[in-house]
């Protein structure tokens, strides 16, 4: 209770907020979002580290299996896991991270606290998407480092493969982030947040050829998974990381990148629309 000389009154009524307010607040929110992300153990384990741990497990397990023989040569079963876990990371960093994080902030009063201050809703999303992008980039680089240096898997070899990697990553992350905002509207309490989001994210990975390679799945399950964007994200990532011969372990033994772009784009648009309709910054009752 010291410092009585501090001027605590507003000098004069201000008119409007300074230029660049939205950007400045947004950048400061990225700082807070990253701090929150790094301090939440469940986040660090189940969203950040999980695909990296699974890459170790799966690549070690499948690495000892016989290679998949195709008419154009052999494909290492272990190498399939690098594009799979890169896709998984994009899904977790986008969908699971935002799905759980935004749902908790909705129900624990954080959104309300923020909306009581002059924080533009755009700044809130700059903070969220900035956090998603930064944590996902670090996670992806860690996956590539483990894949290349520990297991000796190949990075994309051609400009075309790098190009596909770039758009699949970018579009995939935007799409997954939007779907995370949509899923965040489903839980009805703080405690329900991970219970609702995690099973959905888990099941979609099993049926989309991420935990189980696509050759292990029955046709009808692949047909169902093909409705959702994750199977297409994983498909594009396999194109980026695997040799041409890997097309023989795809549906119809063909790459279908046009379909992958289309599905990711459609789901992104659907996600943006549904998120825009369902997200409430200031909840009025």
């Amino acid at each position: 209770m010291t410092a009585p000389t501090i001027d605590i009154a507003r000098a004069a009524p201000i008119s409007g907020l300074p230029a660049g307010h939205t950007i400045r607040v947004g950048i400061d929110r990225i700082r807070l979002e990253l701090l929150e992300y790094a301090r939440r153990t469940d986040n660090m384990v189940f969203t950040f580290a999980f695909p990296i741990l699974l890459l170790f497990v799966f690549a070690s397990a499948f690495g000892n299996m016989d290679p998949i023989v195709t008419p154009d040569g052999e494909i290492s079963a272990g190498a399939l896991m690098l594009p799979a876990m890169v896709s998984s990371g994009v899904l977790l960093s986008g969908t699971q991270n935002l799905g759980i994080g935004v749902a908790i902030e909705k129900w624990d009063g954080t959104l309300r606290r923020l909306s009581a201050m002059p924080i533009p809703v755009t700044s809130y999303f700059i903070g969220k998407f900035g956090q998603v992008l930064i944590t996902s980039l670090v996670q992806t680089m860690a996956l590539l480092a483990v894949g290349v240096f520990v297991f000796g898997f190949d990075l994309p070899q051609t400009a075309a493969q790098w190009g596909v990697f770039a758009w699949a990553y970018a579009l995939g992350l935007i799409c997954c982030a939007m779907l995370g905002l949509v899923l965040a509207q489903l839980p009805r309490s703080v405690n329900a947040a991970s219970a609702v989001v995690i099973p959905i994210v888990l099941v979609i990975q099993f049926i989309s050829g991420i935990y189980l390679t696509i050759t292990m799945l029955p046709d009808w399950l692949i047909q169902i998974a093909s409705i959702f964007p994750i199977a297409w994200l994983a498909h594009a990532m396999r194109f980026a990381f695997l040799p041409e011969a890997a097309r023989f372990v795809e549906l119809d033994h063909e790459w279908n990148l046009g379909m992958a772009v289309g599905m990711l784009a459609i789901w992104t648009v659907v996600g943006v629309i549904v998120a825009a309709i369902t997200f409430r910054w200031v909840k009025r009752s």
Partner: protein
């Protein structure tokens, strides 16, 4: 004087009976106003309507001349909110939250100045979850005042706090008020209203049953002194405007002491409990009797 807050005919209904029923009051700039009432009387609903979180069923509200439902960020920068339970499940520290708030409000105070004023400097590096209830409440208050608000809403600012922390909170509210901040506080503690407010509105079961300065609340009748004495084996009681005159007359009828003489001036508490009995529901009457 300008009016900072205006509430006119505010009614809020969720399906059945109204939670807030035709409430009207206004608060001048620089005034501290207490909305006093038992739990569930409609205090928070009223304040949350003024904060822009609830839509009136009927009636109009204005804060700094603006309808809170249509207010923008510039309005938010002039209004401070200390809600009942922000209880955010955050891993951030008090300093992290406040340095962010410092960047969010134009013309904000320095985070460390506010932390120091609230006695939070030595806890500034602790995560919010590790703070005590009183410390968390002070962080809430710090976030509410860092932007130098013209209007400050305090929803039950000291509920559940120990007496020392309550007094600290009171000192801070008084200091803000001295600097011209308009304060609307809700409380179910009479002493809090008495200590802080210039005027109070008593709200019971959604209705404002009294609205006046703290000195006059309840009206002249409720404040009328009561003279009690014993007449033989009967207890007598008289409500009388001029007790001295009455006692002088009474003393002439007695030789020496008047047995059991008492002159009681109703305290704010007596007046408030009288209102709870008169206007309350079953449960508020029980509260008053207890």
């Amino acid at each position: 004087m300008n009016t900072a807050i205006e509430v006119h005919g505010l009614t809020k209904r969720y399906g059945g009976s109204p939670v807030v029923d035709d409430v009207t009051f206004s608060i001048e700039q620089g005034e501290t106003f207490a909305l006093l009432g038992p739990n569930g009387a409609g205090k928070s609903t009223t304040v949350e309507t003024l904060e822009g979180y609830r839509k009136p069923t009927v009636g109009t509200v204005r804060v700094l001349g603006t309808d809170p439902l249509k207010a923008g960020l510039e309005w938010r920068s002039r209004v401070g909110v200390v809600a009942q339970s922000l209880g955010a499940d955050t891993t951030l520290t008090a300093r992290e939250l406040l340095t962010h708030a410092e960047r969010v409000f134009p013309n904000a105070r320095r985070a460390d100045d506010v932390l120091s004023q609230l006695g939070l400097l030595k806890h500034a590096r602790k995560r919010i979850g590790q703070l005590s209830g009183g410390q968390k409440r002070r962080v809430d208050l710090a976030l509410g005042i860092i932007g130098r608000p013209e209007v400050l809403f305090l929803d039950e600012p000291t509920t559940g706090l120990d007496p020392e922390v309550r007094r600290q909170m009171w000192d801070i509210v008084r200091e803000l008020s001295e600097h011209g901040t308009t304060v609307l506080l809700t409380t179910h503690y009479l002493d809090e209203a008495e200590q802080l407010a210039d005027r109070a509105g008593v709200i019971i079961a959604g209705k404002v049953v009294a609205l006046d300065s703290i000195a006059n609340i309840g009206g002249a009748d409720a404040r009328m002194p009561v003279v009690r004495w014993r007449d033989g084996d009967r207890n007598r009681e008289e409500r009388i405007e001029h007790p001295t005159e009455f006692v002088t007359t009474l003393s002439r009828k007695h030789s020496g002491e008047i047995p059991g003489l008492e002159i009681i001036r109703p305290t704010l508490e007596d007046i408030y409990l009288g209102m709870l009995r008169a206007h309350g529901t079953e449960s508020t009457r029980e509260e008053a009797d207890a």
